[in-house]
């Protein structure tokens, strides 16, 4: 079709390793199957003796979690103002249903049976999995080019590590956000890739900074031109910021200009919980009626990079880890056919296909809910995460005096000077605001997506220490240890710094040891534990800073 918009030819982006992956001869046989052919070529074991004859699961209904918090006025007696929350956290409606995977194929089962799921399956995912993710991508993301394709993977770590192998050669530079998910770098390191941190602010990766890096790139000094960006654009890990559509467009345009592939790692996409509103200002907003259509749901989410991807430059990683469960190890790529084929080759000699049983149960669940039901589930989940986000920040605001401040007014804030949009919450010791020059203990931007609150900590004149082996122990490290000893584990800022030997490419706020960072997850614990954790955190920080 002449009007069909196809992905641009990206074959020059394939790494040497990706080019070398030949079709495993055993896998290449599959195309011969069928017709009146009797095959004994493959090494498939007989499923007759796989002992599972059926698998079933009890599952909640898609609308198990409410869309709105209940009005506290009608809550049963509880001495704590958070009583209703404690019940609400994870309190689903009791109704459940069952999904079952029988052993034998049946007419119209869509391929959901154990004889398929327990046997070696396609690297790209069982047929029902493939069908679901394809429809989901089309309806929710609507990529801006036509010949996109989807294929399953075993979770986003598997996804990214394959993408890294697909695109990076030794000596290549990977562009990353200036604070980034350490595991992603660890996947790229063995390939021999280096990385360049792109400055960010409270709205995400900065296009102006990216332009500066790309325009000023000197091949002789800096090595081969960067061809890949790794980004977590929604609920960024660790900073929690979200990249809006305008920024995505601007960055995408730069990628077209400079011929760059975008690896969009997006595990928190459906945890977009909206701007934080302090409790005193919070209205009992009602989410739209349960019958809200898909279009309104999509419109409520920041669009993905696929929305602006006219050339097939984006390799998107979706995962069920945060929307279903991490243990199932299932997700999918959306990318151009060229990349998909190579990603399949890379997968088939290592992890091969995602677990068939996980696929069968997850797809059975999604089929039971139907597409609309899954959207309802995602909305209920979003409310749950919003409640948890609100609760966590409310706890912080109980432990400190918190003052919303424009980013430009917060000295040394990681959100950076020039950020006109972001409001930073500066936190002071309670009752210290009437001092002449109150000093904040920490600042943070309440996340509008994801699972983390990223904080900048101000340690004042707490000095560095020296370890037995002579290495410097910054206040950030000291505080991390002090806090762990007090019974609270956090993820300190140094975990998220792209390692580099040059201090001038550290974020400026990281170069100053009086300032530290920490990432706190607000999801894993129940309300009571979370509250206790925040109290211990606050107390330990005050004591550590001697404030």
């Amino acid at each position: 079709m002449s009007s069909e918009k196809k992905a641009v030819d990206h074959s020059h982006h394939l790494s040497d390793l990706a080019r070398r992956h030949a079709l495993s001869p055993l896998k290449g046989l599959q195309k011969y199957y069928g017709k009146d052919l009797i095959p004994f070529a493959g090494g498939l074991p007989s499923p007759e003796y796989f002992p599972f004859t059926s698998v079933s699961a009890q599952v909640p209904l898609a609308d198990a979690f409410p869309l709105d918090p209940p009005r506290s006025a009608t809550s049963p007696v509880s001495s704590s103002p958070f009583g209703w929350l404690w019940r609400l956290f994870g309190a689903s409606k009791g109704d459940t249903t069952h999904v079952q995977i029988p052993r034998e194929p049946r007419q119209g089962d869509g391929g959901l049976n154990l004889s398929k799921a327990l046997q070696y399956g396609p690297v790209t995912g069982l047929q029902p999995t493939q069908a679901f993710v394809r429809e989901f991508t089309q309806r929710i993301y609507a990529p801006a080019y036509d010949d996109w394709t989807t294929l399953a993977h075993a979770g986003n770590t598997d996804g990214w590590s394959r993408v890294a192998k697909l695109l990076l050669n030794p000596g290549d530079t990977l562009l990353v956000e200036e604070w980034t998910y350490p595991s992603a770098l660890a996947s790229a390191r063995p390939i021999g890739a280096r990385w360049k941190a792109v400055p960010m602010d409270g709205q995400g990766m900065r296009p102006d900074a990216l332009r500066e890096i790309l325009a000023g790139w000197d091949v002789e000094r800096d090595g081969p031109r960067p061809r890949v960006i790794y980004t977590v654009p929604v609920g960024q890990n660790p900073t929690g910021v979200t990249l809006g559509l305008e920024r995505k467009k601007a960055i995408y345009d730069l990628c077209v200009q400079y011929d760059i592939i975008i690896a969009e790692d997006d595990p928190y996409y459906f945890l977009q919980v909206g701007e934080f509103v302090p409790k005193s200002l919070r209205k009992a907003e009602r989410e739209s009626a349960a019958g809200e259509d898909i279009a309104r749901f999509i419109a409520s989410l920041v669009p993905t990079y696929l929305r602006v991807d006219t050339q097939g430059r984006v390799i998107r990683l979706d995962t069920f880890s945060k929307t279903i469960a991490p243990g199932v190890r299932l997700g999918w790529f959306t990318c151009s056919p060229l990349f998909a084929e190579r990603l399949e080759r890379i997968g088939e000699v290592s992890t091969m296909s995602p677990c068939g049983l996980s696929q069968a149960l997850v797809v059975a669940l999604l089929s039971r809910w139907t597409f609309d039901g899954y959207v309802r589930w995602l909305r209920g989940l979003r409310t749950q995460y919003k409640l948890r986000r609100d609760f966590f920040v409310d706890c912080l605001m109980e432990e400190f005096d918190v003052v919303p401040t424009p980013a430009s007014a917060v000295p040394g804030a990681w959100v950076a000077a020039g950020d006109q949009m972001t409001i930073v919450f500066s936190a002071y010791r309670r009752g210290s605001m009437d001092k002449e020059k109150p000093r904040p203990l920490l600042s943070f931007v309440p996340p509008s997506a994801g699972m983390f609150v990223w904080m900048e900590l101000y340690f004042g004149d707490v000095p560095n220490q020296t370890d037995e082996d002579g290495s410097v122990v910054t206040p950030e490290r000291q505080f991390f240890t002090r806090l762990a000893d007090a019974g609270v584990l956090t993820a300190p800022g140094w975990f998220f710094l792209p390692e580099t030997h040059k201090t001038d490419s550290l974020p400026s706020s990281a170069a100053d040891h009086h300032i530290g960072h920490t990432r706190l997850s607000y999801t894993p614990s129940d309300a009571e534990t979370t509250r206790r954790g925040v109290k211990i955190f606050a107390k330990t920080l005050r004591e550590f800073c001697r404030v």
């Binding site: 055993l26 398929k116 595991s183």
Partner: protein
């Protein structure tokens, strides 16, 4: 290596060891009771690849064990809250081992919760524990011998990672000839020099291996790994004999290489003789009884489920550490959800039940083998040569097509058109050299199909021979 059985050494006290009397660079820890010598952790530095040595532990995952400390509140990881997982209960049915009808098993609530959440890289703890105990009993090994177990996403995944952990680009590696086609791409992308060791009806020819190593040029480093499938080798179906295995182990100690024992058909053994011990077992029993040269790969793919992607690797802790560090940044962890389900089954069966199931599976494959062999005799007695496999699911036979015969060409054209598909032997050699061998799997077909398939193959071969003038 010092092997004095009167010496008792504590793990922390290596400095108290006697200097080795044979001039080797390593010192070892001795387990007095068994008289075993355990290769010390430090000696694996010479085996690990550059990439493996450069891998750092994942900082976040590295702290997971601390989360288990009682009373600790973890705000560390981006773990979703368990209350939000949409699987409340998982059940499955399995046939009762005594054939009395299906048995309903339910995954324990805590285990399910563990399974749905992010889990340790090397497997959920109760699964690792179960498998470790199983390995101890199956291969008569004990704790404190320097080995441990990691669960992986299938044994293919484990092999892939083991090779990445041990082999640098361009390294020589020892493989059987012919070799499992699924490892060739892994070695090829590392530009390995694949040194082929001859095999015969008794499996790997240790004499061939000895010749290769003794004639190795001193100007280049020796191969560090031998990859072998000792039971029902894919594709030859051969099972390596006991004497050969002992010699291979002796050679591994003498020439300092690791034996990658890839054993997916270990449980599919149906030979008349009692089972031959694994390399993992034998290393503790034979030769100088120094252990730590064997890295063993087990799979549930052929006996429980191939699609479930659960395998396990057993061997020296430093090697498993390297594999796990890779997993942490490659696919994070094997599916803990699958592990929870499989573990529920294993617990219900117990070791005895698993062995009973394995026995049934092996019997099933023996019957299939017999059917296939009968059909081979019926249709190809004069057109092919083969050895009878005692394990696994493959028949490896040589078509008598004459000197310039080419099984690949035959299969891809005439046989395919004639309605039968087998796997040409050429895919099992790195060089892709022309061969008249064919691999056929006897796992899936019914008797009628087997006969029809081999009848068709006979027709195809006869036509081929007729066309090309026939041979003696």
């Amino acid at each position: 290596m010092p092997t004095s059985s009167s010496l008792v050494i504590s793990e922390d006290d290596e400095s108290a060891l006697c200097a080795p009397t044979d001039g080797s660079q390593t010192t070892s820890r001795v387990i007095e009771a068994q008289g075993l010598t355990v290769l010390p952790a430090s000696s694996y530095a010479s085996f690990l690849s550059k990439v493996a040595k450069a891998r750092k532990p994942s900082p976040i995952r590295g702290l997971y064990p601390l989360e288990q400390t009682p009373g600790v509140i973890s705000l560390l990881a981006g773990k979703p809250n368990a209350a939000l997982f949409p699987f409340i209960n998982v059940q499955f049915t399995v046939p009762n081992l005594d054939n009395s009808g299906p048995m309903l098993l339910s995954v324990d609530e805590d285990l399910l919760s563990m399974g749905l959440q992010y889990a340790p890289t090397n497997g959920i703890q109760p699964m690792v524990e179960w498998l470790t105990l199983f390995q101890e009993q199956e291969h008569r090994r004990g704790r404190g011998e320097g080995w441990r177990v990691s669960v992986t996403a299938g044994s293919q995944d484990a092999i892939y990672k083991a090779i990445q952990a041990l082999v640098d680009p361009g390294d020589p590696v020892l493989i059987e000839k012919p070799v499992y086609a699924g490892v060739i791409p892994i070695f090829e992308t590392l530009h390995c020099e694949m040194i082929e060791v001859e095999t015969d009806v008794d499996g790997l020819k240790s004499l061939s291996l000895r010749e290769i190593l003794e004639n190795w040029s001193t100007s280049k480093p020796k191969p560090k790994v031998l990859y072998t499938v000792p039971y029902g080798c894919n594709p030859t179906g051969a099972t390596t004999a006991l004497t050969r295995r002992k010699e291979v182990l002796d050679l591994s100690r003498e020439h300092s290489f690791l034996v990658l024992e890839d054993d997916p058909y270990y449980f599919m053994y149906f030979g008349a003789h009692s089972r031959i011990p694994s390399y993992f077992m034998l290393e503790a029993q034979t030769g100088d009884r120094s252990v730590g040269h064997v890295l063993r790969f087990d799979s549930f793919s052929k006996i429980l489920s191939a699609g479930i992607r659960i395998g396990f690797v057993t061997g020296p802790a430093p090697l498993l550490d390297a594999i796990d560090r890779h997993t942490a940044t490659a696919n994070l962890q094997p599916s803990s959800f699958s592990q929870a389900i499989i573990l529920t089954l294993l617990r219900s069966w117990g070791r005895e039940g698993l062995l009973a199931h394995i026995h049934t599976v092996a019997k099933f494959y023996r019957e299939k083998r017999d059917v296939f062999e009968a059909a081979m005799r019926r249709h190809l007695h004069d057109l092919a040569e083969w050895n009878t496999p005692e394990a696994g699911m493959f028949f490896w036979f040589k078509l008598l097509l004459g000197d310039d015969g080419d099984s690949a060409r035959l299969i891809q054209t005439k046989a395919f058109e004639g309605g039968v598909l087998a796997l040409p032997g050429t895919v099992f050699t790195p060089s892709g050299a022309r061969t008249t061998y064919v691999r056929a799997s006897f796992s899936l077909l019914e008797e009628g199909q087997v006969n029809e398939a081999l009848r068709r193959l006979r027709v195809v071969i006869l036509k081929e021979r007729g066309l090309t003038g026939g041979f003696s």
